[in-house]
């Protein structure tokens, strides 16, 4: 369960000196940067959904000026004092923190979505591939408990390659930890919606991302448990191109709906309006 999931180059590189063009990582079309941003990083040519930062996602979903962050001080831990061939995990994580301004692979908070009070967790792939580690799990737990206390719906937008192996078993244990928090919401009858974006794999797909009351996926998002290479080695054959895409999961019964980014906020709001007796 590594967090390494490549699809295309993650950050679109501006091609011209004027920085007014973006090249779509999928179809290579050149798109006006302004247009690219207005369409929430969705390619107007091939509708490729580029990964979003947590801030972009919050801006997409949460009514302006209503977002308050939770657990802002919870950061990554280094319980194993882990080092690999390339150096220490602590240093690498600290560097990432400096570079991204993120404390962990998720940002949680509350706010209004189309006027409805919600608690959200938004993963950010830039922080070590959005990997699930102790800080991630703790933030999700605290957010879920906050939703429980307020009796507000909870939404997690996943973007993760899976468990962060640098935290070893502590990372694996975030799977039952987060699910235990979600179980409290369920027992209290509170709604939890899981939004799966590219990628939602490994230990994240096998924990909080897959136990939503409603599962929404972004178009073509990679969603699955085991890695494609591992599966191909196991079954000794090539997998179809659309294997583990959002569309594939819809067909196999694990996703309620695939929603293009421009409709996401509206769809979520419409759905939550069906939740009665708040």
């Amino acid at each position: 369960m590594g967090w390494f999931t490549k699809r295309h180059e993650t950050a679109p590189k501006p091609e011209s000196k004027e920085d007014i063009w973006i090249q779509c990582p999928a179809c290579k079309a050149h798109i006006y940067k302004e247009e690219w941003e207005k369409s929430f990083k969705v390619c107007s040519q091939c509708s490729y959904h580029e990964r979003m930062t947590w801030r972009e996602r919050v801006d997409l979903l949460i009514d302006p000026k209503t977002f308050t962050e939770l657990s802002a001080k919870v950061s990554f831990n280094d319980p194993l004092k882990f080092s690999d061939a390339k150096g220490s995990y602590a240093e690498k994580a600290a560097e990432t923190r400096t570079k991204t301004g993120l404390n962990e692979s998720i940002v949680t908070g509350y706010g209004k979505m189309g006027g409805i009070k919600v608690v959200v967790g938004v993963m950010d792939f830039r922080f070590l591939g959005g990997s699930l580690a102790s800080g991630t799990g703790e933030k999700i737990l605290q957010a879920a408990l906050y939703a429980l206390k307020q009796r507000w719906p909870f939404i997690i937008v996943s973007a993760s390659g899976g468990a962060r192996m640098h935290e070893g078993m502590v990372s694996l244990m975030q799977m039952p930890k987060t699910c235990a928090a979600l179980a409290q919401l369920r027992e209290a009858g509170l709604p939890y919606v899981s939004v799966m974006t590219d990628p939602t794999t490994g230990g994240v797909s096998a924990s909080y991302a897959m136990v939503g009351d409603i599962h929404i996926a972004e178009p073509k998002a990679l969603i699955g448990f085991a890695g494609r290479r591992v599966i191909e080695e196991t079954i000794k054959q090539k997998l179809p191109d659309d294997f583990q895409t959002a569309e594939y999961l819809l067909e196999h019964g694990f996703v309620d709906m695939i929603v293009p980014r421009k409709d996401l906020k509206n769809t979520l709001t419409q759905l939550l309006k069906y939740y009665g007796r708040r």
Partner: protein, 314 residues
């Protein structure tokens, strides 16, 4: 079958075999020599096993003679009534379960089955369960809840089966569902890692009120080989990865993930089934009795607090 790092022991065993072969009717002197060699064999075994590296423990945990779930059932339980099927799709042989009686205590046992013979291993996917295995386990856990009997989950798997069909039938969903349901299952759950605790495939039945590990068992977020090939870009660095990942019972006790270690006999569980069973029974019974005394409200609160605290370091 001796492992590579057991070479000192193997050498003494060869000397013993040699001496025995040369002296079909051993004299008193030869007998004394044999006794000496046997004592030194034991001392060597003890010394080797006293300082196993994490990677060596991986070898022991995967040893072909290591006791498997059916060995534990035979060695620990006076009765086992196997139940089958997930009521949706199939009956996964990689995950078995049923009612069992342990020291007079009625329990529900679930666990990975690796299989002993090659034929069995293939049937069981080498202990890699499919979604229907996790769903069977959940069905049996719910049955245990209804029947008011505790659950013992025997964990021994390289991981959940990474097959195309398994993905299509929702490997991720099946494991995730179990994590959520086990968190609020109203009956005691004891998870015991007897061999390999392989990542999501292990935790999928591993949400216990107590997590036990045999002393040479390992439990890891990723296989050392897998980790090495990703982080070291070199699969042969598995020993380094095994070290860095902190996968041994001792490390996990320190990390407050394992609650107690079941001591294996000298030379590992595979060298002494009765000794392994006696040690396992003792620890299981102790925890069963303790957990059965708790109200279900208290039980669930403790379970939640336990998992909420995982990885909370400040």
């Amino acid at each position: 079958m001796n492992l590579d790092f057991e070479k000192p022991v193997s050498e003494i065993e060869e000397a013993i075999a040699d001496l025995k072969a040369k002296n079909p009717e051993p004299s008193a002197d030869v007998k004394a020599e044999l006794d000496k060699l046997e004592a030194s064999r034991l001392a060597s075994l003890k010394s080797v096993y006293a300082s196993l590296t994490p990677w060596q423990m991986v070898q022991v945990a995967r040893h072909p003679d290591r006791p498997l779930i059916r060995d534990f059932l035979a060695g620990l339980c006076s009765e086992f009534i196997e139940l089958h099927g997930d009521r949706h799709f199939g009956d996964d042989q990689g995950m078995i379960g049923g009612f069992a009686t342990l020291d007079g205590i009625r329990v529900m046992v679930i666990g990975h089955q690796k299989g002993r013979t090659l034929e069995d291993k293939i049937k069981c996917n080498f202990g890699q369960a499919c979604p229907e295995g996790y769903r069977k386990a959940l069905r049996l856990m719910k049955l245990a809840e209804k029947f008011h009997v505790p659950v013992i989950a025997f964990i021994d798997t390289p991981g959940a089966f990474p097959g195309k069909d398994a993905e299509e039938r929702g490997q991720a969903e099946a494991i995730a569902r179990n994590l959520l349901e086990m968190a609020v299952l109203k009956t005691p759950v004891i998870a015991i890692v007897t061999g390999e605790g392989g990542s999501g495939g292990a935790i999928g039945i591993g949400v216990g009120d107590v997590i036990l590990m045999l002393s040479n068992a390992v439990y890891s977020v990723i296989s050392p080989e897998g980790c090495a090939s990703i982080l070291w870009r070199d699969g042969t660095k598995a020993p380094e990865a095994a070290n860095a990942l902190k996968i041994t019972a001792k490390s996990l006790l320190d990390l407050k993930i394992a609650d107690e270690i079941v001591p294996e006999p000298v030379g590992g569980a595979h060298r002494d089934y009765p000794g392994t069973m006696a040690a396992t029974r003792k620890v299981l019974v102790k925890h069963l009795k303790r957990l059965q005394g708790l109200s279900s409200k208290k039980l669930l609160k403790r379970r939640f607090d336990k998992y909420a605290a995982m990885g909370r370091f400040r």
